[in-house]
């Protein structure tokens, strides 16, 4: 089944809650309301014609301009050999959505990761704590407005570059010129004359 057929079947089952299908240029995705997520997912998994038995990928996209965090789920069915994409838009200030762990176990770690990096709270995840970042890390690094702290527990997060240690060349040249002017007559002032 292609995405349009899947969405048609989904609409048949859930009506308007199946959301809207995006334009057919790229991977078509169904945009659904966050509160319907669990129900839609359950329908996708349990319906025989759809039979999405695997949650392949679960990611968030931060859109600070639109003040929303987009949750993207890539589903796949080993039984029917077709894939589908679900999207839902969460409020960026209060990103909360139901966890899909009861439907697909693989969601547990994927949701933990997104919680860690975006601060999206997945209600119902049995073990929602930081996965990749240290437990006492403040902030959600993959948000667009995140600013990296300069140090963590006294460890600097900034590394100096050897290239920064140098004098800017125009300043150096001025200095060179000045120093030579003192010693040499003004007529002998250096001029950039090409090859060394």
């Amino acid at each position: 089944m292609n995405a349009a057929e899947i969405h048609a079947r989904l609409s048949e089952l859930l009506g308007a809650r199946a959301g809207t299908l995006s334009a057919a240029n790229k991977d078509e995705a169904a945009l659904i309301a966050p509160r319907d997520l669990l129900e839609v997912c359950r329908a996708l998994k349990t319906d025989d014609a759809l039979a999405f038995d695997a949650l392949m990928n679960l990611g968030c996209v931060d859109w600070p301009g639109k003040s929303e965090i987009e949750l993207v789920l890539h589903l796949f069915s080993y039984a029917r050999r077709h894939g589908f994409v679900l999207k839902c838009r969460l409020d960026r200030a209060q990103p909360r959505v139901a966890s899909v762990v009861p439907i697909w176990s693989s969601a547990e770690w994927l949701e933990r990761e997104q919680f860690d990096l975006f601060g999206v709270v997945f209600e119902g995840n049995p073990d929602l704590r930081r996965l990749l970042m240290p437990d006492d890390w403040i902030g959600f690094p993959l948000r667009k407005d995140y600013e990296e702290p300069e140090s963590w527990h006294g460890i600097s997060t900034v590394r100096e570059s050897p290239l920064d240690g140098f004098v800017r060349l125009d300043e150096l040249k001025k200095k060179l010129a000045a120093s030579r002017a003192e010693t040499v007559k003004a007529a002998d002032a250096p001029k950039p004359d090409g090859a060394p």
């Binding site: 790229k26 693989s106 990761e113 437990d135 407005d145």
Partner: protein, 392 residues
């Protein structure tokens, strides 16, 4: 920190509270890792154990987190290619290909046929190299040291070949968006064929040394059995999934690149010595996959078409903001997925990498219940998790 509702302290339990979460009843708690010799990189397992028999092992990851996804948002599309090498440094070619394919989809670039063949050859050689590390370390984790140097020796031959192809032994950066960086060098196919012939014999020897070894079989049979349903539910991918009896290979079932041109078998775990989906099956599937990779390499070299190795790629890669592309490739550790959302400029707005090891880690806690301490290292090794791929 943008909004009050997302304060981490309000919603999350700290690592120390893991101890409260587990049903702790006086067993010994041991930290296995992050410097333990056989945790395959820096991973920590909080092992709750009653003598030799474990209650469970709770994986704690993140020690190798280099925020590659964030870097991907601050890097031009082409400039991100070297970073993908670091996603999975044991099989960097696949990480390259996943990124290249995601971008090619995003910008609708058609890759020349010869470039696809070059990609297949490089990737399959890399698959052999990666599986060699996997089976070698797995043998070492159950105590047989010698198969590991043998595996590394063969891997060195592949590294030499890949070095000749792209100039680096580990972080290849060989693929480009729209093709590959270099064509095959002169006389390359003869050297690859010589290696493949040699390697197939070595594989037989390797089987005799370790795969069929009685102690090895006894150690791994019936260990960490993952049923078909459990594997799919936990979204295991690649060899781990196939060992559980799921006959699924992206290269065959959702063909990409030049794979439709080749004939190869997809080894599936059958429970030859124990139950389908046990640790031995996972080991065995990897050894068979190396054989199949040899077959693919041979066919690719035979059918190699003429032509350019690089498509016409626009100087500035740009896509409308918000368009997204998704790519799936069959990496050495299974289905590797890149999800890229185009940003306003020449950079991605968001990049998500889903790797095989990440999913495999999620299942360890479930499988580790009630096995023995010595089995835990074999279990971890059999899932072939690679720390950089989990943390990225």
């Amino acid at each position: 920190m943008s909004a009050p509702g997302t304060d981490p302290s309000a919603t999350m339990t700290s690592g120390k509270e893991v101890l409260k979460r587990i049903e702790y009843s006086g067993e010994m708690l041991v930290n296995m890792g992050p410097q333990h010799p056989s945790t395959h990189g820096v991973i920590n397992f909080l092992v709750q154990t009653d003598g030799e028999e474990m209650t469970r092992a709770i994986p704690e990851v993140g020690y190798l987190h280099r925020s590659i996804e964030k870097i991907g948002e601050r890097c031009e599309y082409a400039g991100f290619m070297p970073y993908t090498d670091r996603v999975d440094y044991i099989a960097a070619m696949f990480a390259n290909q996943g990124w290249a394919m995601a971008c090619e989809r995003l910008f609708a670039i058609e890759v020349p046929k010869r470039a696809e063949y070059c990609r297949v050859i490089a990737c399959e050689l890399n698959r052999i190299a990666s599986h060699l590390i996997s089976v070698g370390t797995m043998a070492m984790d159950v105590g047989a040291v010698t198969p590991f140097p043998y595996a590394l020796r063969e891997r060195e031959f592949i590294n030499d070949l890949l070095e000749e192809l792209c100039g680096a032994r580990l972080t290849y950066n060989y693929l480009r968006i729209g093709g590959v960086a270099f064509d095959l060098p002169d006389g390359y196919s003869e050297r690859v064929l010589r290696f493949v012939d040699h390697f197939e014999k070595v594989l037989v020897e390797f089987d005799r040394l370790i795969t069929q070894n009685r102690i090895f079989v006894e150690r791994l049979r019936g260990l960490g059995v993952i049923s078909r349903a459990l594997a799919i539910d936990h979204c295991l991918v690649g060899p781990n999934l196939r060992a559980s009896g799921v006959d699924w290979d992206l290269r065959r079932d959702l063909p990409y690149s030049a794979y439709p041109d080749f004939e190869f078998a997809v080894p599936v775990g059958t429970g030859a010595v124990g139950k389908t989906g046990d640790a031995w099956d996972r080991f065995w599937v990897r050894t068979r996959e190396m054989q199949e990779s040899c077959r693919i390499v041979r066919q690719a070299l035979q059918k190699l078409p003429e032509g350019p190795v690089m498509a016409k790629v626009p100087r500035r890669l740009k896509a409308p903001e918000g368009t997204d592309a998704f790519s799936r490739i069959e990496s050495a550790r299974g289905d590797m997925q890149y999800y890229v959302v185009a940003g306003p400029g020449e950079m991605a707005h968001r990049l998500k990498i889903r790797t095989g090891s990440f999913n495999a880690m999620g299942i360890i806690e479930k499988l580790s219940r009630g096995i023995m301490l010595a089995d835990l290292v074999a279990l971890i090794a059999s899932l072939d998790v690679v720390a950089p791929e989990i943390d990225r």
